[in-house]
């Protein structure tokens, strides 16, 4: 196992679209183990995508359980489903509803965070490292994490989706009236 180097913007490779995985073999499983080790070895994060470590295949890991446990310790409640550790191969969002703003940062964009609108509930279809397909329901923070990671597979960063606080406040107020 090994910790892989995380690409950081302005590296143009982060803007590349990743390819579908077609071979569910030991090489894939070895890569996923390395990706997991990279995520665990880096700054605390809730997900990582293959292209962030220079592999342009549709593979992401999402795991919000650590963050949720930590928040609970501080008596903080974060709205989120918790599917535990998700290793998603060829993931596709098949249904999305609601829109909610939240703050995002990225391992590939150091020293900046910004507000991004994301669907609040999603249905997700993905394969595992054996090629078996499964469906997941995600909401809140976990849904946001999945959408953030899936964006990486299409060469999109949260910087592509920034909205300003003022804009969000206006939306909030208009919604009230």
């Amino acid at each position: 196992m090994s910790v892989l180097e995380v690409l950081t913007y302005p590296d143009v490779r982060l803007k590349k679209r990743s390819e579908e995985v077609s071979q569910f073999d030991d090489d894939l499983r070895q890569f996923v183990a390395d990706l997991q080790e990279t995520m665990d070895g880096g700054p605390p994060s809730v997900g990582i995508a293959a292209p962030q470590v220079n592999r342009f295949q549709r593979i992401v890991i999402v795991d919000v359980s650590g963050m949720l446990a930590q928040a609970k310790q501080r008596k903080r409640r974060i709205k989120s489903s918790n599917n535990g550790r998700l290793c998603l191969v060829n993931p596709k969002i098949t249904r999305a509803e609601g829109q909610v703003s939240g703050r995002e940062g990225c391992l590939s964009v150091p020293d900046y965070t910004g507000n991004v609108l994301r669907a609040s509930r999603i249905t997700l279809f993905a394969q595992n490292t054996e090629g078996e397909a499964r469906e997941y329901e995600c909401s809140g923070f976990e849904a946001r994490a999945v959408q953030h990671e899936l964006d990486h597979l299409d060469g999109l960063l949260f910087l592509d989706r920034l909205v300003s606080s003022n804009e969000l406040f206006r939306r909030q107020v208009y919604k009230l009236t």
């Binding site: 809730v46 928040a71 903080r76 703050r103 965070t113 953030h148 606080s165 406040f169 107020v173």
Partner: protein, 180 residues
């Protein structure tokens, strides 16, 4: 973005105020670029019909050269310019962990009242924007604050609920930053 790498380079805070008119930002930043000046973090905003700019700039030619680099542009656009040498660093953002929005009928002292209560409850303000909406007859004060809760969320929530009792609408949203 980083032509200046000399050890003698110094950061300055450049403050510019003028009547809002087309081209202020473009012309000012072009003059700075031509003088080899680096830009850092900036805030440019229209306040009451005035255009205001606070800009971190880095130059290794001293304050006088910086002043003269933008003198023509400033004069032709009738901008008032102020420059201070500053101790500054990039890449040292403090991340906010709470956002507070406040609105209510505009009245004297509302900002002092809110920020005072938040300060007492341990809030370190990182960003504050306020505006007056409504009409002249019925002005509404709106404020958006981002900060770091140095003593946790509980004292802040208590402070804010007291404000609510005094007719000020307050929304308190912890910021859980996703890192991924």
């Amino acid at each position: 973005m980083n032509p200046v790498s000399s050890v003698s380079s110094q950061w300055y805070m450049l403050t510019v105020i003028g009547n809002d008119q087309p081209g202020i930002v473009a012309r000012l930043t072009a003059a700075l670029f031509q003088a080899g000046v680096n830009l850092g973090e900036t805030s440019m905003i229209r306040l009451g019909g005035n255009f205001t700019i606070m800009m971190m700039v880095q130059s290794n030619n001293g304050m006088d050269k910086l002043q003269s680099a933008i003198a023509d542009t400033a004069e032709s656009l009738s901008l008032r310019v102020h420059i201070d040498p500053i101790e500054a660093h990039l890449h040292s953002h403090l991340m906010p962990d709470v956002e507070i929005t406040v609105y209510g009928a505009d009245r004297a002292g509302i900002v002092a009242e809110v920020t005072g209560a938040l300060f007492d409850a341990g809030l370190n303000i990182l960003d504050l924007n306020s505006d007056v909406a409504g009409t002249e007859a019925k002005p509404v004060y709106i404020m958006i604050i981002e900060g770091h809760a140095t003593r946790g969320m509980e004292p802040l929530e208590q402070a804010l609920s007291k404000l609510k009792n005094r007719g000020i609408e307050v929304t308190f949203t912890p910021i859980d930053t996703l890192m991924g």
